[in-house]
Amino acid sequence: MKLTRKEQKELFIELGQVVQEAGECYAKMLRVELIEEMYNRLNELESKGDELQAKLDAHYSTQKNAPYLTLERAKLLRRIDDTLDNFAIAARTMHVFAGAVPSDFVERATPVSKLLKLVAEYVNDAIVNLFTNFSQALKLTGKIEDNRDKIVDLTFELETDYFKSLNGENAWKQFTAVERIMKRTAATVQRMRDTAEIIELMVYKFSAE
Protein backbone atom coordinates (compact mmCIF):
# COMPACT_ATOMS: atom_id res chain seq x y z
CA MET A 1 0.00 0.00 0.00
CA LYS A 2 1.66 3.20 -1.17
CA LEU A 3 1.45 6.26 1.09
CA THR A 4 2.15 9.84 0.09
CA ARG A 5 4.78 11.81 2.01
CA LYS A 6 1.99 13.70 3.78
CA GLU A 7 0.28 10.45 4.85
CA GLN A 8 3.56 9.03 6.16
CA LYS A 9 4.19 12.21 8.15
CA GLU A 10 0.67 12.13 9.62
CA LEU A 11 1.14 8.51 10.73
CA PHE A 12 4.44 9.34 12.45
CA ILE A 13 2.90 12.30 14.22
CA GLU A 14 0.02 10.12 15.34
CA LEU A 15 2.53 7.58 16.68
CA GLY A 16 4.25 10.39 18.59
CA GLN A 17 0.93 11.29 20.20
CA VAL A 18 0.40 7.64 21.15
CA VAL A 19 3.81 7.61 22.88
CA GLN A 20 2.96 10.78 24.79
CA GLU A 21 -0.38 9.39 25.95
CA ALA A 22 1.31 6.10 26.92
CA GLY A 23 3.76 8.11 29.03
CA GLU A 24 0.91 9.95 30.78
CA CYS A 25 -0.93 6.69 31.51
CA TYR A 26 2.11 4.90 32.88
CA ALA A 27 3.06 7.94 34.97
CA LYS A 28 -0.36 7.64 36.66
CA MET A 29 0.17 3.92 37.20
CA LEU A 30 3.51 4.67 38.91
CA ARG A 31 1.60 6.85 41.39
CA VAL A 32 -0.72 3.85 41.88
CA GLU A 33 -3.65 5.79 40.39
CA LEU A 34 -6.42 4.15 38.36
CA ILE A 35 -4.30 1.01 37.89
CA GLU A 36 -6.97 -1.07 36.13
CA GLU A 37 -8.16 1.74 33.87
CA MET A 38 -4.62 2.80 32.85
CA TYR A 39 -3.59 -0.82 32.30
CA ASN A 40 -6.46 -1.31 29.83
CA ARG A 41 -5.74 2.02 28.14
CA LEU A 42 -2.05 1.14 27.68
CA ASN A 43 -2.98 -2.16 26.03
CA GLU A 44 -5.28 -0.23 23.67
CA LEU A 45 -2.47 2.21 22.88
CA GLU A 46 -0.08 -0.67 22.11
CA SER A 47 -2.64 -2.11 19.63
CA LYS A 48 -3.18 1.30 18.07
CA GLY A 49 0.59 1.67 17.67
CA ASP A 50 0.73 -1.76 15.98
CA GLU A 51 -1.97 -0.72 13.50
CA LEU A 52 -0.19 2.50 12.59
CA GLN A 53 3.11 0.64 12.28
CA ALA A 54 1.54 -1.96 9.99
CA LYS A 55 0.39 0.76 7.55
CA LEU A 56 3.86 2.30 7.38
CA ASP A 57 5.55 -1.11 7.18
CA ALA A 58 3.33 -2.09 4.24
CA HIS A 59 4.47 1.08 2.46
CA TYR A 60 8.20 0.63 3.21
CA SER A 61 8.22 -3.00 2.17
CA THR A 62 7.33 -2.14 -1.45
CA GLN A 63 10.11 -1.90 -4.01
CA LYS A 64 9.20 1.59 -5.08
CA ASN A 65 10.76 3.39 -2.15
CA ALA A 66 14.16 5.06 -2.43
CA PRO A 67 16.28 3.31 0.24
CA TYR A 68 18.13 6.55 0.91
CA LEU A 69 14.93 8.22 2.04
CA THR A 70 13.22 5.31 3.81
CA LEU A 71 15.83 3.33 5.77
CA GLU A 72 16.02 5.76 8.67
CA ARG A 73 12.24 6.19 8.79
CA ALA A 74 11.85 2.40 8.96
CA LYS A 75 14.33 2.32 11.89
CA LEU A 76 12.49 5.15 13.66
CA LEU A 77 9.25 3.23 13.24
CA ARG A 78 10.76 0.17 14.92
CA ARG A 79 12.11 2.18 17.86
CA ILE A 80 8.69 3.77 18.42
CA ASP A 81 7.12 0.32 18.30
CA ASP A 82 9.69 -0.96 20.85
CA THR A 83 8.80 1.97 23.11
CA LEU A 84 5.08 1.20 23.01
CA ASP A 85 5.74 -2.52 23.57
CA ASN A 86 7.82 -1.67 26.64
CA PHE A 87 5.10 0.60 27.98
CA ALA A 88 2.67 -2.32 27.68
CA ILE A 89 5.09 -4.67 29.48
CA ALA A 90 5.71 -2.05 32.19
CA ALA A 91 1.94 -1.69 32.61
CA ARG A 92 1.57 -5.49 33.05
CA THR A 93 4.36 -5.43 35.65
CA MET A 94 2.71 -2.57 37.52
CA HIS A 95 -0.66 -4.35 37.32
CA VAL A 96 0.82 -7.43 39.02
CA PHE A 97 3.10 -5.80 41.59
CA ALA A 98 1.36 -2.53 42.50
CA GLY A 99 -0.46 -4.17 45.39
CA ALA A 100 2.81 -5.23 47.05
CA VAL A 101 4.72 -1.94 47.06
CA PRO A 102 5.71 -0.25 50.38
CA SER A 103 3.39 2.41 51.82
CA ASP A 104 5.69 5.31 50.93
CA PHE A 105 6.23 4.13 47.35
CA VAL A 106 3.89 6.66 45.74
CA GLU A 107 5.66 9.61 47.39
CA ARG A 108 9.10 8.27 46.43
CA ALA A 109 8.12 7.30 42.88
CA THR A 110 6.43 10.65 42.06
CA PRO A 111 9.67 12.35 40.80
CA VAL A 112 10.27 9.36 38.48
CA SER A 113 6.67 9.55 37.30
CA LYS A 114 6.93 13.28 36.51
CA LEU A 115 10.20 12.90 34.61
CA LEU A 116 8.91 9.92 32.64
CA LYS A 117 5.83 11.86 31.55
CA LEU A 118 8.10 14.73 30.48
CA VAL A 119 10.35 12.40 28.44
CA ALA A 120 7.33 10.96 26.58
CA GLU A 121 6.23 14.52 25.80
CA TYR A 122 9.71 15.35 24.48
CA VAL A 123 9.64 12.25 22.24
CA ASN A 124 6.35 13.38 20.70
CA ASP A 125 7.67 16.93 20.20
CA ALA A 126 10.93 15.64 18.71
CA ILE A 127 9.00 13.57 16.14
CA VAL A 128 6.93 16.62 15.14
CA ASN A 129 10.01 18.88 14.93
CA LEU A 130 11.91 16.31 12.89
CA PHE A 131 9.70 17.30 9.97
CA THR A 132 9.92 21.07 10.38
CA ASN A 133 12.77 22.10 12.64
CA PHE A 134 15.95 20.00 12.87
CA SER A 135 17.65 22.21 15.46
CA GLN A 136 14.66 22.09 17.82
CA ALA A 137 14.47 18.31 17.36
CA LEU A 138 18.13 18.07 18.41
CA LYS A 139 17.51 20.17 21.53
CA LEU A 140 14.68 17.86 22.51
CA THR A 141 16.76 14.71 22.02
CA GLY A 142 19.39 16.28 24.27
CA LYS A 143 16.74 16.81 26.96
CA ILE A 144 15.56 13.21 26.56
CA GLU A 145 19.09 11.97 27.21
CA ASP A 146 19.53 14.18 30.29
CA ASN A 147 16.22 13.09 31.79
CA ARG A 148 16.91 9.46 30.98
CA ASP A 149 20.08 9.70 33.07
CA LYS A 150 18.16 11.32 35.92
CA ILE A 151 15.46 8.60 35.83
CA VAL A 152 18.08 5.83 35.81
CA ASP A 153 19.78 7.41 38.84
CA LEU A 154 16.47 7.84 40.69
CA THR A 155 15.31 4.26 40.04
CA PHE A 156 18.65 2.88 41.21
CA GLU A 157 18.52 5.09 44.29
CA LEU A 158 15.01 3.85 45.10
CA GLU A 159 15.99 0.21 44.75
CA THR A 160 19.10 0.69 46.89
CA ASP A 161 17.26 2.57 49.62
CA TYR A 162 14.50 -0.02 49.85
CA PHE A 163 17.05 -2.84 49.85
CA LYS A 164 18.76 -1.27 52.83
CA SER A 165 15.66 -0.18 54.73
CA LEU A 166 12.99 -2.85 54.27
CA ASN A 167 12.59 -5.29 57.16
CA GLY A 168 9.96 -7.64 58.37
CA GLU A 169 7.96 -10.52 57.08
CA ASN A 170 6.94 -9.01 53.74
CA ALA A 171 10.17 -7.13 53.05
CA TRP A 172 11.30 -9.49 50.26
CA LYS A 173 7.91 -9.20 48.57
CA GLN A 174 7.91 -5.42 48.76
CA PHE A 175 11.47 -5.18 47.55
CA THR A 176 10.81 -7.55 44.62
CA ALA A 177 7.81 -5.45 43.61
CA VAL A 178 9.84 -2.20 43.72
CA GLU A 179 12.78 -3.76 41.88
CA ARG A 180 10.63 -5.19 39.08
CA ILE A 181 8.71 -1.95 38.61
CA MET A 182 11.84 0.22 38.61
CA LYS A 183 13.74 -2.01 36.19
CA ARG A 184 10.81 -2.07 33.80
CA THR A 185 10.47 1.72 34.09
CA ALA A 186 14.16 2.24 33.35
CA ALA A 187 13.95 -0.10 30.33
CA THR A 188 10.98 1.84 28.93
CA VAL A 189 12.80 5.14 29.33
CA GLN A 190 15.82 3.61 27.57
CA ARG A 191 13.57 2.69 24.59
CA MET A 192 12.48 6.32 24.42
CA ARG A 193 16.13 7.34 24.41
CA ASP A 194 16.76 4.86 21.55
CA THR A 195 13.95 6.54 19.59
CA ALA A 196 15.57 9.92 20.27
CA GLU A 197 18.91 8.58 19.04
CA ILE A 198 17.44 7.63 15.66
CA ILE A 199 15.95 11.13 15.41
CA GLU A 200 19.41 12.60 16.16
CA LEU A 201 21.05 10.47 13.47
CA MET A 202 18.41 11.50 10.95
CA VAL A 203 19.04 15.16 11.73
CA TYR A 204 22.82 14.69 11.37
CA LYS A 205 22.40 12.83 8.10
CA PHE A 206 19.89 15.04 6.35
CA SER A 207 21.11 18.40 7.56
CA ALA A 208 24.84 17.65 7.09
CA GLU A 209 24.46 16.79 3.43
Binding site: P67, Y68, F131
Partner: protein, 328 residues
Protein backbone atom coordinates in the same frame (compact mmCIF):
# COMPACT_ATOMS: atom_id res chain seq x y z
CA UNK B 1 29.38 -7.44 -49.75
CA UNK B 2 30.48 -10.49 -47.74
CA UNK B 3 33.20 -8.42 -46.13
CA UNK B 4 30.72 -5.72 -45.16
CA UNK B 5 28.49 -8.34 -43.54
CA UNK B 6 31.43 -9.74 -41.54
CA UNK B 7 32.54 -6.27 -40.47
CA UNK B 8 28.98 -5.31 -39.61
CA UNK B 9 28.56 -8.46 -37.50
CA UNK B 10 31.80 -7.92 -35.58
CA UNK B 11 30.89 -4.25 -35.07
CA UNK B 12 27.45 -5.35 -33.84
CA UNK B 13 28.98 -7.79 -31.34
CA UNK B 14 31.35 -5.11 -30.10
CA UNK B 15 28.41 -2.73 -29.71
CA UNK B 16 26.59 -5.37 -27.62
CA UNK B 17 29.66 -5.62 -25.35
CA UNK B 18 29.73 -1.82 -25.01
CA UNK B 19 26.02 -1.69 -24.18
CA UNK B 20 26.44 -4.52 -21.67
CA UNK B 21 28.85 -2.37 -19.66
CA UNK B 22 26.77 0.79 -19.66
CA UNK B 23 26.23 1.90 -16.06
CA UNK B 24 24.55 5.22 -16.91
CA UNK B 25 21.10 4.27 -15.57
CA UNK B 26 22.38 2.77 -12.31
CA UNK B 27 21.62 5.88 -10.24
CA UNK B 28 17.91 6.06 -11.19
CA UNK B 29 17.57 2.32 -10.56
CA UNK B 30 19.38 2.70 -7.22
CA UNK B 31 16.99 5.36 -5.95
CA UNK B 32 14.06 3.28 -7.29
CA UNK B 33 12.79 6.01 -9.62
CA UNK B 34 12.68 3.41 -12.42
CA UNK B 35 12.55 -0.36 -12.35
CA UNK B 36 15.38 -2.25 -14.09
CA UNK B 37 13.06 -3.16 -16.98
CA UNK B 38 11.98 0.45 -17.44
CA UNK B 39 15.60 1.65 -17.27
CA UNK B 40 16.96 -0.81 -19.87
CA UNK B 41 14.09 -0.24 -22.33
CA UNK B 42 14.28 3.55 -22.02
CA UNK B 43 18.08 3.42 -22.02
CA UNK B 44 18.30 1.34 -25.18
CA UNK B 45 15.93 3.69 -27.00
CA UNK B 46 17.88 6.79 -25.94
CA UNK B 47 21.23 5.13 -26.84
CA UNK B 48 19.92 4.36 -30.32
CA UNK B 49 18.66 7.90 -30.89
CA UNK B 50 21.97 9.37 -29.68
CA UNK B 51 23.93 6.95 -31.85
CA UNK B 52 22.13 7.65 -35.15
CA UNK B 53 21.91 11.43 -34.64
CA UNK B 54 24.89 13.04 -32.85
CA UNK B 55 26.88 9.80 -33.17
CA UNK B 56 27.68 10.71 -36.75
CA UNK B 57 30.07 13.50 -35.68
CA UNK B 58 32.18 11.37 -33.31
CA UNK B 59 32.22 8.27 -35.51
CA UNK B 60 33.26 10.38 -38.51
CA UNK B 61 36.13 11.91 -36.50
CA UNK B 62 37.47 8.55 -35.37
CA UNK B 63 36.69 6.69 -38.57
CA UNK B 64 37.85 9.15 -41.21
CA UNK B 65 39.67 12.13 -39.71
CA UNK B 66 42.52 10.44 -37.85
CA UNK B 67 44.20 9.18 -41.00
CA UNK B 68 43.77 10.37 -44.58
CA UNK B 69 43.26 6.87 -46.06
CA UNK B 70 40.21 4.67 -45.62
CA UNK B 71 40.78 1.26 -44.02
CA UNK B 72 40.45 -1.99 -45.93
CA UNK B 73 38.33 -4.88 -44.73
CA UNK B 74 41.29 -6.58 -43.04
CA UNK B 75 42.40 -3.35 -41.37
CA UNK B 76 38.91 -2.52 -40.08
CA UNK B 77 38.51 -6.09 -38.82
CA UNK B 78 41.87 -5.82 -37.02
CA UNK B 79 40.81 -2.70 -35.16
CA UNK B 80 37.43 -4.14 -34.17
CA UNK B 81 38.94 -7.41 -32.92
CA UNK B 82 41.64 -5.55 -30.96
CA UNK B 83 39.11 -3.35 -29.19
CA UNK B 84 36.80 -6.31 -28.47
CA UNK B 85 39.60 -8.48 -27.04
CA UNK B 86 41.00 -5.69 -24.86
CA UNK B 87 37.49 -4.88 -23.59
CA UNK B 88 36.98 -8.52 -22.62
CA UNK B 89 40.40 -8.73 -20.91
CA UNK B 90 39.80 -5.43 -19.13
CA UNK B 91 36.36 -6.54 -17.87
CA UNK B 92 37.75 -9.90 -16.76
CA UNK B 93 40.62 -8.23 -14.87
CA UNK B 94 38.33 -5.57 -13.40
CA UNK B 95 40.30 -2.77 -15.07
CA UNK B 96 38.42 0.43 -15.97
CA UNK B 97 39.55 0.45 -19.60
CA UNK B 98 38.19 3.19 -21.78
CA UNK B 99 36.73 1.85 -25.02
CA UNK B 100 37.29 5.25 -26.62
CA UNK B 101 40.98 5.32 -25.67
CA UNK B 102 41.35 1.77 -26.95
CA UNK B 103 39.69 2.54 -30.29
CA UNK B 104 41.68 5.72 -30.92
CA UNK B 105 44.97 4.09 -29.83
CA UNK B 106 44.37 1.12 -32.14
CA UNK B 107 43.34 3.35 -35.07
CA UNK B 108 46.34 5.69 -34.76
CA UNK B 109 48.86 2.83 -34.36
CA UNK B 110 47.55 0.91 -37.36
CA UNK B 111 47.53 4.07 -39.47
CA UNK B 112 51.17 4.75 -38.56
CA UNK B 113 52.15 1.14 -39.23
CA UNK B 114 50.56 1.25 -42.68
CA UNK B 115 52.28 4.52 -43.46
CA UNK B 116 49.06 6.50 -43.67
CA UNK B 117 49.17 10.20 -43.03
CA UNK B 118 47.91 10.78 -39.47
CA UNK B 119 46.10 14.08 -38.91
CA UNK B 120 48.09 15.45 -35.99
CA UNK B 121 45.64 18.30 -35.40
CA UNK B 122 42.84 15.77 -34.84
CA UNK B 123 45.02 13.71 -32.49
CA UNK B 124 46.00 16.78 -30.50
CA UNK B 125 42.31 17.78 -30.23
CA UNK B 126 41.36 14.30 -29.03
CA UNK B 127 44.21 13.94 -26.50
CA UNK B 128 43.56 17.46 -25.21
CA UNK B 129 39.92 16.52 -24.59
CA UNK B 130 41.00 13.34 -22.75
CA UNK B 131 42.93 15.50 -20.30
CA UNK B 132 40.42 18.32 -19.98
CA UNK B 133 37.13 16.37 -19.88
CA UNK B 134 37.85 14.48 -16.60
CA UNK B 135 39.20 17.71 -15.09
CA UNK B 136 36.03 19.56 -16.08
CA UNK B 137 34.05 16.58 -14.75
CA UNK B 138 35.86 16.83 -11.41
CA UNK B 139 35.51 20.60 -11.00
CA UNK B 140 31.99 20.64 -12.45
CA UNK B 141 30.75 18.00 -9.99
CA UNK B 142 32.64 19.66 -7.13
CA UNK B 143 31.08 23.05 -7.92
CA UNK B 144 27.56 21.66 -8.33
CA UNK B 145 27.83 19.69 -5.08
CA UNK B 146 29.08 22.74 -3.17
CA UNK B 147 26.12 24.73 -4.52
CA UNK B 148 23.71 21.96 -3.50
CA UNK B 149 25.23 21.80 0.00
CA UNK B 150 24.89 25.57 0.32
CA UNK B 151 21.25 25.40 -0.81
CA UNK B 152 20.55 22.62 1.70
CA UNK B 153 22.17 24.52 4.57
CA UNK B 154 20.15 27.61 3.72
CA UNK B 155 16.77 26.09 2.96
CA UNK B 156 16.50 22.67 4.58
CA UNK B 157 15.02 22.98 8.06
CA UNK B 158 13.28 19.63 8.43
CA UNK B 159 12.32 16.40 6.72
CA UNK B 160 9.55 18.18 4.81
CA UNK B 161 12.19 20.30 3.06
CA UNK B 162 14.43 17.24 2.49
CA UNK B 163 11.56 15.39 0.80
CA UNK B 164 10.64 18.37 -1.37
CA UNK B 165 14.26 18.92 -2.45
CA UNK B 166 14.85 15.26 -3.17
CA UNK B 167 11.74 14.98 -5.33
CA UNK B 168 12.93 17.96 -7.44
CA UNK B 169 16.38 16.41 -7.73
CA UNK B 170 14.98 13.03 -8.74
CA UNK B 171 13.40 14.76 -11.73
CA UNK B 172 16.64 16.62 -12.55
CA UNK B 173 18.51 13.33 -12.19
CA UNK B 174 16.20 11.59 -14.64
CA UNK B 175 16.77 14.37 -17.19
CA UNK B 176 20.55 14.30 -16.61
CA UNK B 177 20.71 10.53 -16.99
CA UNK B 178 18.68 10.72 -20.21
CA UNK B 179 21.04 13.36 -21.59
CA UNK B 180 24.10 11.32 -20.51
CA UNK B 181 22.67 8.21 -22.12
CA UNK B 182 21.97 10.13 -25.35
CA UNK B 183 25.50 11.57 -25.36
CA UNK B 184 27.10 8.25 -24.52
CA UNK B 185 25.14 6.65 -27.33
CA UNK B 186 26.59 9.32 -29.60
CA UNK B 187 30.10 8.91 -28.16
CA UNK B 188 30.33 5.15 -27.64
CA UNK B 189 28.83 4.13 -30.97
CA UNK B 190 32.02 5.35 -32.62
CA UNK B 191 33.94 2.58 -30.86
CA UNK B 192 32.01 0.01 -32.87
CA UNK B 193 31.06 2.01 -35.95
CA UNK B 194 34.20 4.04 -36.69
CA UNK B 195 36.02 1.38 -38.78
CA UNK B 196 32.94 1.14 -41.02
CA UNK B 197 32.35 4.86 -41.47
CA UNK B 198 34.77 5.37 -44.35
CA UNK B 199 33.12 2.69 -46.50
CA UNK B 200 29.56 3.81 -45.81
CA UNK B 201 30.29 7.52 -46.24
CA UNK B 202 31.75 6.64 -49.63
CA UNK B 203 28.60 4.63 -50.43
CA UNK B 204 26.45 7.59 -49.40
CA UNK B 205 28.45 9.95 -51.63
CA UNK B 206 28.29 7.56 -54.60
CA UNK B 207 24.58 6.81 -54.28
CA UNK B 208 23.58 10.34 -53.33
CA UNK B 209 21.67 8.96 -50.35
CA UNK B 210 23.10 10.33 -47.09
CA UNK B 211 21.23 7.72 -45.02
CA UNK B 212 23.80 5.09 -46.02
CA UNK B 213 26.29 6.91 -43.82
CA UNK B 214 24.06 6.22 -40.82
CA UNK B 215 23.97 2.43 -41.27
CA UNK B 216 27.06 1.73 -39.09
CA UNK B 217 25.50 3.94 -36.42
CA UNK B 218 22.24 2.00 -36.63
CA UNK B 219 24.14 -1.28 -36.23
CA UNK B 220 26.05 0.16 -33.29
CA UNK B 221 22.99 1.73 -31.68
CA UNK B 222 20.87 -1.42 -31.95
CA UNK B 223 23.81 -3.52 -30.69
CA UNK B 224 24.30 -1.28 -27.65
CA UNK B 225 20.58 -1.42 -26.94
CA UNK B 226 20.56 -5.22 -27.11
CA UNK B 227 23.64 -5.37 -24.86
CA UNK B 228 21.97 -3.12 -22.30
CA UNK B 229 18.67 -5.03 -22.29
CA UNK B 230 20.11 -8.54 -22.13
CA UNK B 231 23.32 -8.19 -20.11
CA UNK B 232 23.50 -4.56 -18.93
CA UNK B 233 20.54 -5.13 -16.61
CA UNK B 234 22.83 -7.17 -14.33
CA UNK B 235 25.26 -4.26 -14.09
CA UNK B 236 22.38 -1.95 -13.22
CA UNK B 237 21.05 -4.38 -10.64
CA UNK B 238 24.35 -4.82 -8.81
CA UNK B 239 25.39 -1.15 -9.07
CA UNK B 240 21.87 0.02 -8.20
CA UNK B 241 21.86 -2.09 -5.03
CA UNK B 242 25.32 -0.81 -4.13
CA UNK B 243 24.23 2.76 -4.60
CA UNK B 244 21.78 2.44 -1.71
CA UNK B 245 23.50 5.27 0.19
CA UNK B 246 23.74 7.60 -2.79
CA UNK B 247 21.29 10.43 -2.37
CA UNK B 248 19.49 11.91 -5.36
CA UNK B 249 21.31 15.21 -4.77
CA UNK B 250 24.77 13.58 -4.91
CA UNK B 251 23.72 11.59 -7.95
CA UNK B 252 22.63 14.82 -9.68
CA UNK B 253 26.00 16.48 -9.02
CA UNK B 254 27.77 13.50 -10.57
CA UNK B 255 25.38 12.91 -13.43
CA UNK B 256 24.71 16.53 -14.41
CA UNK B 257 28.35 17.45 -14.98
CA UNK B 258 28.93 14.16 -16.82
CA UNK B 259 25.86 14.81 -18.99
CA UNK B 260 26.95 18.32 -20.02
CA UNK B 261 30.52 17.34 -20.83
CA UNK B 262 29.64 14.24 -22.88
CA UNK B 263 26.90 16.17 -24.72
CA UNK B 264 29.22 19.05 -25.64
CA UNK B 265 31.95 16.62 -26.71
CA UNK B 266 29.51 14.62 -28.85
CA UNK B 267 28.18 17.84 -30.44
CA UNK B 268 31.72 18.83 -31.37
CA UNK B 269 32.50 15.34 -32.65
CA UNK B 270 35.21 14.75 -30.04
CA UNK B 271 35.50 11.19 -28.68
CA UNK B 272 35.83 11.24 -24.87
CA UNK B 273 35.80 8.56 -22.21
CA UNK B 274 32.41 8.62 -20.49
CA UNK B 275 33.76 6.34 -17.77
CA UNK B 276 36.68 8.61 -16.88
CA UNK B 277 34.45 11.67 -16.76
CA UNK B 278 32.00 9.81 -14.47
CA UNK B 279 34.82 8.64 -12.18
CA UNK B 280 36.26 12.17 -12.01
CA UNK B 281 32.78 13.49 -11.19
CA UNK B 282 32.44 10.92 -8.38
CA UNK B 283 35.77 12.09 -6.94
CA UNK B 284 34.75 15.74 -7.29
CA UNK B 285 31.52 15.10 -5.39
CA UNK B 286 33.41 13.25 -2.66
CA UNK B 287 35.85 16.13 -2.31
CA UNK B 288 32.96 18.58 -1.95
CA UNK B 289 31.92 16.56 1.11
CA UNK B 290 35.52 16.69 2.40
CA UNK B 291 35.61 12.91 2.13
CA UNK B 292 39.04 11.33 1.72
CA UNK B 293 39.56 9.99 -1.77
CA UNK B 294 41.35 6.72 -2.30
CA UNK B 295 44.39 8.04 -4.15
CA UNK B 296 45.56 4.50 -4.95
CA UNK B 297 42.44 4.01 -7.04
CA UNK B 298 42.84 7.42 -8.67
CA UNK B 299 46.47 6.58 -9.56
CA UNK B 300 45.38 3.21 -10.96
CA UNK B 301 42.70 4.82 -13.12
CA UNK B 302 45.11 7.56 -14.32
CA UNK B 303 47.77 5.00 -15.27
CA UNK B 304 45.12 2.97 -17.04
CA UNK B 305 43.84 6.05 -18.90
CA UNK B 306 47.32 7.05 -20.04
CA UNK B 307 48.46 3.53 -20.81
CA UNK B 308 45.37 2.26 -22.61
CA UNK B 309 46.07 3.84 -26.04
CA UNK B 310 49.60 2.39 -25.96
CA UNK B 311 48.36 -1.05 -24.92
CA UNK B 312 45.78 -0.80 -27.69
CA UNK B 313 48.59 0.09 -30.09
CA UNK B 314 50.51 -2.99 -29.05
CA UNK B 315 47.37 -5.07 -29.33
CA UNK B 316 46.60 -3.88 -32.84
CA UNK B 317 50.13 -4.75 -33.98
CA UNK B 318 49.69 -8.32 -32.70
CA UNK B 319 46.20 -8.63 -34.17
CA UNK B 320 47.35 -7.25 -37.54
CA UNK B 321 50.01 -9.93 -37.64
CA UNK B 322 47.42 -12.65 -36.98
CA UNK B 323 44.83 -11.22 -39.39
CA UNK B 324 47.48 -10.96 -42.11
CA UNK B 325 48.32 -14.64 -41.63
CA UNK B 326 44.72 -15.69 -42.31
CA UNK B 327 43.53 -13.06 -44.76
CA UNK B 328 46.83 -12.01 -46.26
Amino acid sequence: MEELVILGSVAGLLAIAIGANDETWATVVGIRRLSINQAVVLGSGVLLIGAVTFGFNVAKTVGTEISDSPFTFAQSLTILITVAVLLIIGSWKGLPLSTTHTMVGATVTLSLLLGYNVESATIVKIVFSWITSPLIGFFGAYGIMKLILWLKKKYVKGLDDVDRLESWFITILLLSVTLTSFSRGANDVSNAAAPLMGVFIQLADQSGNSLYARIPLLIGGVGMGIGLIIVGRRVLKSLGNDIVTLSPTSAVAIQFSTAIITFVAASLGIPVSGTHILVAAFIGTGKAYDVDVNMKTVKRITISAVGTPFVAGLGVLLTWGVVNLFIG
